[in-house]
Symmetry: C2
Subunit: 739 residues, 2 copies
């Protein structure tokens, strides 16, 4: 490998540090009028152009240690408001080159483009509401139990109606909290109020209070008119506590500790600049942005690239675009969010003034055992060889008001890549009249309706299969089809089937087709597997999960076309990282998302170069994989829901010339122990004895011929069969005497 | 709970012991003529009738400890051959009542019904082949490298052609092994020969040698005619070793141990007779049969029944019916097949003479950590409550010649039940001419073709949702449908969707419908969830995996109709445990499998009672869930394939009145440790410090406002907000000065 960057100069993909942010912010500030104030919303590394970066990576990955690495600029991307006076906000973005000290890109955006909410807006929204006469007036419609206090959850406004003006809105879900418990973590979500304050952020005032219907089946969707006497709330509500000291039941005491220890240390190393990770032939860099959270760059196995970049991109509620997944990342706790030997990453973000702020422990790395990895027992000799599947997990957890998502990249020692999401936290709820039920959701607590909803995720995969050359990577859909007939020439027994390949040469979308076993293959067009003769590749099976149910004419559907197909394949363009476009907040429709990318009709690959015309540059395909969860809440999802787990599996497919985990040792773990029956049965002693002896040489029982027969040589062959007499003896016991 | 059986009398669901088997075998033997010899093929517990058993369970589960438990018979089921003379085999089955000493059921079967192969037949097959002149003659067609020896894998014959006679056949896949390695575990599967000997087991002789085609794309499917000079085999073949001492590469040395220990012991107990297991409010009995492997009986959560019985039933290659999954179960090794604190089960089987034989360590039980179970961070206070998902795993591993399957039942502390299968072992291969490729499979090693194939599994679920009353359990298909239009009265924003329920009152099959989010709900018709008002239940999402690709006219399709739909719901009948029927070996079509069960049109449930007529007995629905893997082999699957994992998830759905894992303590694990960067970066010291302090009270960073702001009270409400000034200060930094 060529010499790496000196400590003085960070690697081009390394996360920004505080000095870089500060320097870039100062450069940007100086480029603005002194009368303009800047409000910083998102700050992250502007990655080098892919075309430049792959040259760097090619040099970096060379064996020649004297190779010169190209010098690539370190650049910072800012998304920010330019404030010229009260309410006079203009959204802008800029890229600052730290080395040259120049602002190399700057753009202002029309009010149709709204950046995601910054956390300080949550506080301001709460302030505005609680100080508002309009809000105070609205609260008078209700009578709360004594000692209940109001809590407001900030909430994105959603998509605007087509004829609506475009201020910057925020809305709020209003709850009450039982302050008599004297615990700020008493759960307010069990006490929803049927009002929604809406704030104009430019004017810094509430513009209206929406009222919610609280009826059930058969009732109209309109809210009831306000009555003269305050409506008495929460008379029969149950508390919904989850913090241990407020729980309505004792904690279980029978869950004994499971300790996971690595006496020789972890098998992974986090080298040099805390971004480069090596583990079990895998090697990658971890990036992090306030929008995406953790990102994997330059993912290689045994020195061979697999992905240029892997990231989680968006969700159908725009948690990335409206909120910011990275910015919502939890500070993880040792011994809580992962067990074992853990490495944490800290990342630098900015505050609203553009000053660097350190986010601690926002990503954790650890390895874990995942059960049997491969096993074979030779039934002739009884010898079993069994290895363990080992995973490296890169995990971050985000909190979006009531809800949590756990995102993880998992690599394993068999060359597999898994994207995992876990949904947990507190389901979104609204008030419903006591005793009523609804077709739109489930009653999870008296008077509390958890609405049916969907979570749809998009991840972005930028494959680089065994080469970073933009012309080399191909995307192929492969399906398994039944054959049309029993045919003596092609399908004599009727059990044959046909594998069909459809290479994608142009941007397109597609859906999962489990009936056809549709898999997506990422392949290198040139490099062949020396054994099979097929293109080296990785394959992904898109999950056949339900796609967006919202009507195509709805604002929701128009804003998130990505959620309408399981797979999008687009031509790579630098900076295109967002499945629903860069500015999703209050969008009326997708701008610059996967739908637009497909519609522009990029061709990729070498054929594409010929067909594409224009600048003649090679394009490389980017895949966007979409999966989801139709979440019709269960009562069990209350007050905090058990994780709903989903995994996307990406596996080598003729990338290697044999099982890449073949060299995993079948070492026996020395710390495992036996658990006996609490009332040992008659054979417990013998059992112990046998098990001990089997630790050295587990013997398959599949011969099934009883303890007094050790058929070590069943079928050991006509030429070297030994001890054949034993079988004959056994068999004669059954057949011999009579026959 | 009522008093349990005395040690002298086993629980009615307890696995058979050696004394019982011996006694029953003697009773059976005495019932036969002295001139008849018996060849025992399968021996297992004949479970009590469900109707009787649920009365027992109702009494057993009562709080009244003085309740009398019904006395249920202990019965043994035998499947065996009656041999009256050479080649004169008659298949029979019998049930022996140990208490009365009587044979209570006996039946002989026509030759159309063939029991699965018994392991001793493997040895006999090998003997017959290697002694056969026909086989020796066939081998002369080939020239093997020096020191190669012949090894034959026994293989079920498959389904007979309609006009074929019905002897008992076995066929063999022929391989060579490099004996020069002086290691009986040298892998023969890398050296396939293109011949298949077929044996008539009744006549004890080979009847023919089938020759296999070795051509590739474009070649005919017929085998080439035998040449005068022996065909030279394996000239350029690669060895395919997997045992460590023969590997062609060094073992990796960088996989450091992960030790999983339970210093306070395991959280589960295996009580009294080694069949009753208690863990985290779950309680069940483990059965085991040579056909099914491990079975869960009487699965209850917190004393409430969920399933009467759960089992794996069949596969599309009839590994259960033709082979016997339980009989093929590996003897597991401590520290190899599971890590941590492990309990093993031994089970009694019989040898061909009906004598009891002990199979050691064929099932392992252990608990494991499975990541975050539920989490919520209060973004106002920064307090995170995070709990771990804990699983109890009941696992067994079977070897069927070249191939391995790992079956597991997983229960967790959130009330979920998961059925897991892992496919591993050595893929089935045939010879192909060197340099050729095939449309029917992949070249995994020179001259070795791994054919495309499918693995389709069926599990049998006998639900008993909160009641064992046969009339109480219902099966409902639930789907989520888009609404037809944006409509001001019902769907004003176009984002609504409709949940539709279709109760199944009559036996039926159905497929997974991910586009409709089809879930199968097992419900109690009477008991309502006191919160939601809905029927208490569990739900299962059938996996949308590809179904059988074989042509409907093929023998394969006719033998395994179960593999043509993802779900079958049938009316319960005692003893019906087999998705493809009891006798699958050489079957021409399904007899007594799910297709037949559906076709007989049972109605179940209370409505069913009225409609059913006949004996007027209540029927209860049994669900058969089917999933699979279309396995188009990768080069990576050679020589032993990394596990392909599949899980079926069954989750409570309004069974509980809140998250059942709410009482799981959020205890911090004390043995987790930090892993630093190997070249610490500038803030490594500070990082260590911060992380330590956060162990006590992990603070969410989602406020994103930087380290000098601790917005503990963001949104803490208008009435009890404290320290509000801090925000005002922060906000004024951005807005205050200018506005």
């Amino acid at each position: 490998m060529a010499s790496v960057s000196s400590p003085a100069r960070p690697h081009p993909l390394q996360r920004l540090n505080d000095g870089e942010i500060l320097k870039a912010k100062d450069i940007l500030a100086k480029s603005h009028d002194s009368g303009e104030r800047l409000l910083f919303r998102f700050t992250y590394l502007e990655e080098p152009k892919r075309e430049d970066m792959v040259k760097y990576l090619a040099a970096e990955h060379q064996d020649d240690k004297t190779a010169t690495l190209p010098t690539l600029p370190r650049m910072v991307k800012f998304v920010y408001d330019v404030i010229k006076g009260p309410g006079e906000h203009t959204l802008a973005d800029a890229v600052v080159d730290i080395d040259s000290g120049k602002v190399v890109h700057t753009q202002t955006h029309p009010t149709e483009s709204q950046a995601g909410y910054a956390p300080f807006e949550f506080a301001q929204f709460q302030e505005t509401c609680t100080n508002s006469d309009m809000f105070k007036e609205a609260l008078k419609e209700f009578e709360l139990p004594p000692n209940f206090t109001i809590t407001i959850d900030p909430w994105p406004y959603g998509g605007l109606d087509p004829d609506e003006n475009i201020p910057r809105y925020m809305q709020g879900l209003v709850f009450a909290r039982d302050a008599s418990k004297d615990n700020l973590d008493a759960n307010h979500y069990g006490y929803p109020l049927p009002i929604i304050p809406v704030m104009d952020f430019n004017k810094k005032e509430l513009i209206r209070i929406d009222r919610l219907a609280t009826g059930g089946k058969g009732d109209p969707l309109e809210p009831a008119a306000a009555s003269d006497t305050p409506k008495k709330l929460f008379a029969n509500h149950k508390s919904a506590e989850y913090v241990p000291e407020l729980l309505d039941r004792p904690l279980r005491t029978d869950m004994k500790p499971i300790n996971i220890t690595q006496p020789e240390g972890a098998s992974f190393t986090v080298a040099e600049d805390s971004s480069l990770v090596s583990w079990q032939k895998w090697r990658f860099r971890i990036g992090f942005s306030p929008r995406e959270g953790a990102v994997l760059h330059d993912l290689c196995y045994d020195g061979r690239p697999v992905f240029y970049r892997v990231s989680f991109s968006e969700m159908c509620a725009f948690d990335f675009g409206d909120g910011g997944a990275g910015r919502s990342a939890n500070n993880l706790g040792l011994g809580c969010d992962c067990l074992g030997a853990i490495h944490y990453l800290d990342v630098w973000d900015t505050d609203p003034e553009g000053l660097p702020t350190l986010s601690k422990n926002v990503v954790c790395l650890h390895e874990q055992d995942a059960g049997i990895g491969w096993k074979h027992t030779n039934f002739r000799t009884g010898r079993a060889v069994v290895t363990r599947l080992r995973e490296l997990v890169v995990q971050f957890v985000i909190t979006l008001a009531n809800y949590e998502y756990i995102f993880a990249y998992k690599l394993d020692n068999a060359g597999n890549v898994t994207l995992e999401t876990r949904a947990t936290g507190i389901v979104s709820v609204v008030a419903i009249d006591e005793g009523k039920t609804s077709a739109y959701g489930n009653i999870v607590s008296p008077g509390v309706l958890a609405q049916n909803h969907q979570h749809i995720f998009a991840a972005r995969l930028d494959p680089a299969i065994d080469s970073y050359d933009a012309g080399e990577t191909a995307v192929v859909l492969e399906e398994s089809h039944p054959m049309p007939a029993v045919d003596p020439l092609t399908n004599p027994f009727g059990n044959g089937y046909e594998v069909r390949r459809t290479p994608l040469e142009k941007s397109a979308f597609a859906d999962a087709e489990p009936k056809l076993n549709r898999v997506v293959r990422f392949e290198n067009r040139t490099r062949k597997n020396e054994i099979s003769g097929k293109n080296v590749g990785y394959k992904m099976t898109p999950s056949a999960t339900q796609l967006m149910l919202a009507h195509p004419d709805s604002t929701q559907a128009r804003r998130a076309p990505f959620a309408q197909h399981h797979l999008w394949v687009t031509g790579h363009r630098d900076g295109e990282l967002w499945a629903a476009g860069e500015f999703t907040n209050q969008s009326r429709g997708e701008v610059g998302g996967v739908k637009a990318m497909v519609e522009r009709g990029d061709w990729f690959g070498r054929e594409g170069r010929r067909l594409m015309g224009g600048d003649g540059k090679l394009s490389t395909p980017v895949a966007w994989v979409v999966w989801g969860l139709t979440h019709n809440p269960r009562v069990e999802d209350w007050p905090v829901m058990p994780v709903e787990i989903h995994q996307v599996h990406i596996r080598p497919a003729d990338f290697f010339t044999s099982n890449p985990a073949l060299d995993v040792p079948s070492t026996k773990n020395e710390t495992s122990v036996l658990v006996s029956s609490s009332s040992p049965c008659c054979d417990a002693k013998e059992q112990k004895k046998t098990t001990d002896s089997q630790q050295e040489d587990p013997v398959s029982h599949m011969q099934g011929s009883g303890p007094d027969v050790k058929p070590k040589d069943i079928g050991s062959g006509s030429k070297d069969g030994k001890d054949k007499k034993r079988f004959t003896t056994l068999l004669s016991g059954v057949f011999g005497k009579k026959e």
